[in-house]
Symmetry: C2
Subunit: 474 residues, 2 copies
Amino acid sequence: MATVEGCACTHAGGGGSSLPAAATSVTSDLREKALASRGAAELVRSLTDEVGPRLAGSTGSKAAVEWAMRAFAERGFANVHTEPVTVPRWERGEENGAVVAPVQQLLHVTALGGSNGTASGGVEAEVIEVDSLEALGRLPPGAAAGKIVFYNIPMDRSRDGSGYGRAVPARGVGAARAAALGAVAAVIRSIGTDHNRLPHTGAMRRDEKGQSVPAAALSVPDADLLHRLIERHKSVRLRLTLGCRWLPDAQSANVVAEIPGAIRPEEIVLLGAHLDSWDLGTGAIDDGAGVGIVVSAAQLVGSLPRRPQRTIRVVLFANEENGLSGAQAYAKSHQADADKHVAALEADSGTGRAYGLRYLGEPQARERLAAIALALQPLGIEPLPADAHGGADLGPLRALGVPMIDVAQDVSTYFDYHHTANDTFDKIDPESLAQVSAAFALLAQGIADLDGDFGRVPEPKRQPERRGPQPMSF
Amino acid sequence: MATVEGCACTHAGGGGSSLPAAATSVTSDLREKALASRGAAELVRSLTDEVGPRLAGSTGSKAAVEWAMRAFAERGFANVHTEPVTVPRWERGEENGAVVAPVQQLLHVTALGGSNGTASGGVEAEVIEVDSLEALGRLPPGAAAGKIVFYNIPMDRSRDGSGYGRAVPARGVGAARAAALGAVAAVIRSIGTDHNRLPHTGAMRRDEKGQSVPAAALSVPDADLLHRLIERHKSVRLRLTLGCRWLPDAQSANVVAEIPGAIRPEEIVLLGAHLDSWDLGTGAIDDGAGVGIVVSAAQLVGSLPRRPQRTIRVVLFANEENGLSGAQAYAKSHQADADKHVAALEADSGTGRAYGLRYLGEPQARERLAAIALALQPLGIEPLPADAHGGADLGPLRALGVPMIDVAQDVSTYFDYHHTANDTFDKIDPESLAQVSAAFALLAQGIADLDGDFGRVPEPKRQPERRGPQPMSF
């Protein structure tokens, strides 16, 4: 890309709450160019069609790293390199579920990520249904022993994805809680807003003692069916067969590339997304979209006539989905220069239009973002009062005090497809993806050229509340 | 049901183009009662939850016949009985598809009903894409030899389902045409309007020589993926493994029940739906909905204070989906009294609201239906100028001259789910199902009490055009 090599003239822009005319013209050109670009969608097409599913440790994961190196190089990025990450490796295998009594019905199930498999013949037991983790805790002693616990917790549709935060805890800890009560397996109603017979996977975890039981998600229609059968029959029995298993850890990598800063190259504006995906779909909305957004946004800034003052670093993280190993590796190896990270932004919310901006940094520096945010107003994006979260991959950097900026996207339909076989390229809206990419480009350029910075995240806000109402860890 | 045994007083209503006050009050009561009823939806729930999939010759098919006998008996129908039907038996088995070169991608595929299986290791070959049957015919000699033919024909969404008629022929004859050109298999883009990774099955047939090749449907997103790969790569290779197979014919049955006529019991108003379903879903919209509509409609007429003059006969046909054996058996065994069938109506269009009525009978008698149709106006249902089709199960009766009346339903979303695993009870809208059931009840009552009849279908119209623009064979 010629521009990365191009002119490095001194930036004349000022700080404060309004932008000078020259900057306004730059941002206006950048905005129009970004909106007209289909570069983000083309990146998603290429990644999903030519690589496809890319769960940590899989063949697809390796191919994705090679794809990313090539994509950066072809687009003229500088300092294109990988940074090693050790990732867990988990494989799905056969999966079958069925109601076996009092009627017979096949169920569409999928193992939760990280679940152990069942014994080879599967596990068969009576089902006990609960509508929350708390309800499980209130069961009489012994009520879940020997049974399959069914968490039937519907997820509400909303623009900000708040329904996910309310529904998802049972996916994470439900199987471990069931194990502690002597259950033999756990199934959850898929954490999703659709009514398709495509179950939603997602990570689960063991408890402190390492306890769990095999765990799977039922598609929403199958959860509804099971609920109706339980309502009408004294005893409903399920059979669940899961062939999933853990394999030895594998070597993977974060893929990193830069638009080098012309004036303060050691200062970093980090744009992140995750390169891995679940194995069921081709990872278009999660997180091909984010990859497309941040790579195309940085490329657009790199193609401006004037190189940005600070470095824009794109990080495509390994293994967000099954344990955040890429995020942890990055924070660990960059701990010493964490204070050189002026701000970090992550794109991991799919293809919906951006509508808001959230900020988390030194409170007095909030006005600096407000000034940059003026350039995003024509996109329909306004500052929001809530603190930024930062996204799952940025959590370890937030803990180190790196300021976070969220581009809030409309996720109303995101959870129709999230973590399912339905997460495919046809779900991508190239136009809205370009709008989000425009927002990232304007923010990256604005922050790279900003006089002053956002300070550090105050100590008490470095650890996000666990499962707040607006999680950005999708 | 007490009313079937109840009063048989002489009907006082007149013919002509308006309804007398007594009849108006009866129809108004019936309409309100039908709209308030959730009987149709409850029938669908019971059939889909307690029986589930019921492809001809399967265990579910047997259970469905028992379910229907019980459902009629519990609702007080008279003359509840089965009529024997010999049905073909076809089983699905394993099914897998994948792009194997130049990239690797799993494809969501399902065998077309009636396809032969592949050899056990599957078939692997280069793909050749065409966008119509005609395009296959225009290929240069030898172009399809040794290849897998991919019919990529999108289906348009419409209220009247006309897109289905345009897209579906390749499903029926595509594999046979491909076989004739030396292809080794055929895949089609699912005939559906959704973007879910749930392929749509449906019947295919051999040519006159008995030729065909293994045939499967790709889900719409998988067809899009394959199309994009073919656009960008010189050669794309597929592997397809289908374990489907034919078994010896099985014995099944049409299930028949009546609301006996008080005055002219030998004259029949036939309400039909099909009891079988494809194996992938639980057959809620196709055709649990139709079963719910016609059984609840007849039950509602049976529960009126005054018994209808003519007999209302409900026929739940065996095996509509894989060869129409139930329809043929009924027409054959009732050929002698075909002229006693005053009219026949089929419900096989899912859960969408009814908006129109079509007629096919003696042209001069059309006004008689118009008079009855007045009672349907408050439901938003108006007579349409096009001839009635009759539905797939009524084809053999139409050929015998039995007048047909179509209740045209809105099928805008029907083909999102049709013939897929997604055809489940959650797709049923109890309110619109009640509206359709109200239409069937009003028509059944009105025709049963009609002075005069609809004559016979004129000879030239007894054979429906093959694949007209508004097929009623869903």
